[in-house]
Amino acid sequence: MQADIFRRRLLCLRKQAIQSHAQLDPQGRANSAPVPFGHFKDVHQSFKRSGQTPLVAIKNITFDLKAGHLVTLLGPSGCGKTTFLKIVAGLISASGGTIQINGRDVAEPQPDFGVVFQQANLMPWRSILDNVLFPMEILRRSDAAAKLRAQELLALVGLEGFEQSYPSQLSGGMQQRVALCRALIHKPKLLLMDEPFGALDELTRMEMQDLLLDIRVKTDATVMFVTHSISEAVYISDVVAVLSKRPSVIADYIVVNLPYPRSAEIRYSAEFTDLEHRAGRALGITR
C-alpha cells in the first residue's frame, strides 16, 4: 500500500520534471523529439605532462541523460570519473566534445547545479545549519525561507537537533548527510555526486543509498552519480554507464528497470544479480 503511494508520487514527479523540461526547450523544437536534459558527445580529456606525451584520461564519453533520471558512472579507479564530473560541473574545461545541460553549453560552473564530493568538505567554523546555508549565502538568497528549507532538509536526512552543532561533533556519515543537504538547498536542476559514500563503512553506505532513493522521490533533481561499486550502481540507478579503464570509453550502457521503491531485499533478486553480472562483464571482472 505504502509502496504503491511512493511509486505513484515518484512517477508523478518524474513526469513533472520531464514536462517542465519540455517547456524549457530553448530551441522550441517539436515535443515529439525533445532535446535530452543532458547531452554529452565525444567528451575527451587529456592532461599535459612535462617531457612526456599527454595523458589521455577520457578517450570518448557519449550518452544522453533524461530529466529526473539517476545515471551512475561506474568505472575502475583512475579511469576519469572525477574528471568527467568536474567537466560537467564546469570546474575544468574538456579538451574536446560537447556538454549540454538543459540546452545550454556548459563551459563554466552553473549555480543551479549541486555538487557532493567524496569528502564532506564542511567548514569547521560554521554550524551545521550555516554549512547547509552556504550556497544560499553565495547566491545571496539566504533568507528566512532558506533557513526553513535547510531545517527541513536536515530533518529529512535525520539530523534534526544538530543544527547548531559543529562538523567536528558529527560522524563521517552524518557529515556526508549535511553535504547532501548543502547540495540540495538551492533546489539544483542537476545533482553531481562523486563517490559520496566511498569513505563510509558498508552499513552506513547502504543507509545512505536508501536515503538517496528517498530524497529522489522528494526532489525532482536529475542526478549524476560516480562510484566504483557495482552493487551501489545497480541499486540506486535508472541507468548505469560503465566506463572502461583509462583512456576511458563507455563500455556498456545499462538501463536498470528494477521497480521503485527499492529496498535492500531487491539486492538478492535474480534481476539484480543479472544486472551486476552484466556490469561486471563490462568492467572485465566477470565473463
Partner: protein, 254 residues
C-alpha cells in the same frame, strides 16, 4: 571554567612549585650569596616591597609590547593576504621580508633609537619589527592552505573572489593566524625589552638593568619575574581571543 581548565592548570602549578621548593632549599642550605642567586623568598619579598615601582615600570613595557603587537597584526595580516594572493607581490616582497628578518633586531635597535628617540616610540617600533614576521609567515601559510575541496565548492557556485576570501580563505586561515599571533605576542615583549636595554628612561627592562648595576639582585629577579608574568598574560589574552573568535576549535575533542 571547566574541569579540563582546572586540570590543565594543576600540572604546571605543581611543576613550578617543585622547582621553587628545590631552589629555596638549595640557596638556604648551601648559603648562596643573594647577589649571585637570590632565593625565591628574597625575590618575593623584593616584589612585594617594591610593588609600586614594578607596577609603574610595567606600564610602559606593557604599552610598547601591546601596541607593537597590535601594529604588527594590523599591518601584517593585510600584507600577508596580498602576498599570498598575488604572485607578483609574493615574488617582489617575500625575499625582501626574509632578508630584513635575518638581520638581528639587537643590531638594528640602536639605529631605531637614533630615529625614534629614547621614549616609548622606539620600543614600540622594535616590538613591531619582531612581531611582524611570524604574523606574516603564518597568515600567508594559512591563506595558501585553504582546503581544495572548499575552493571547488565555492567555485561551483560561482562565488566572487571577495566572497571566497571572506567566507572561505580567511576563516580557514584563522588557526594559522592565531598560531602566529601567539608567537608574535611573546616576541613583542622581548622586542620591547631589547629596546629598553639599548637605551631608555623607563620600563621593566630599564629597571632590571638599573637594579643589576646596583647589585640589587632580588629586585632584578623580581623585574624578570614580572616580565615573564607580563608575557604570560599577553599570551593568555591571545588564547582567550582565539577561543572567542573560533568557538568551534574547542568542541568535539572531549
Amino acid at each position: 571554567m571547566t574541569f579540563r581548565d582546572v586540570r590543565n592548570a594543576i600540572y604546571p602549578l605543581v611543576g613550578i612549585s617543585a622547582i621553587l621548593l628545590i631552589w629555596q632549599l638549595y640557596t638556604h642550605f648551601l648559603g648562596i650569596n643573594r647577589i649571585v642567586l637570590p632565593s625565591p623568598l628574597d625575590i618575593l619579598w623584593a616584589s612585594i616591597s617594591n610593588w609600586d615601582v614594578l607596577l609603574r615600570e610595567s606600564w610602559p613595557t606593557f604599552l610598547e609590547s601591546v601596541l607593537g603587537f597590535a601594529l604588527a597584526v594590523a599591518i601584517g595580516i593585510p600584507f600577508a593576504v596580498c602576498v599570498a594572493n598575488s604572485r607578483v607581490l609574493n615574488l617582489t616582497l617575500y625575499p625582501i621580508l626574509i632578508a630584513t628578518q635575518s638581520i638581528p633586531k639587537v643590531a638594528v635597535a640602536p639605529i631605531i633609537l637614533v630615529w625614534f628617540g629614547l621614549g616609548m616610540q622606539s620600543k614600540l617600533v622594535i616590538a613591531f619589527l619582531v612581531a611582524f614576521f611570524p604574523i606574516v609567515v603564518d597568515t600567508a601559510a594559512g591563506m595558501r592552505a585553504t582546503p581544495v575541496g572548499l575552493l571547488e565548492l565555492a567555485r561551483s557556485l560561482r562565488a566572487s573572489s571577495l566572497q571566497i576570501f571572506l567566507k572561505v580563505q580567511f576563516p580557514a586561515a584563522l588557526p594559522f593566524i592565531f598560531a602566529g599571533a601567539k608567537v608574535a605576542v611573546t616576541l613583542a615583549v622581548i622586542g620591547a625589552v631589547i629596546g629598553e636595554f639599548i637605551g631608555s628612561v623607563g620600563g621593566l627592562g630599564n629597571l632590571l638593568l638599573t637594579a643589576n648595576s646596583q647589585l640589587d639582585s632580588p629586585l632584578a629577579w623580581a623585574a624578570l619575574i614580572w616580565l615573564s608574568v607580563l608575557g604570560i598574560l599577553l599570551f593568555g589574552a591571545v588564547v582567550i581571543a582565539e577561543r572567542i573568535v573560533m568557538p568551534w576549535s574547542d568542541v568535539g575533542h572531549h
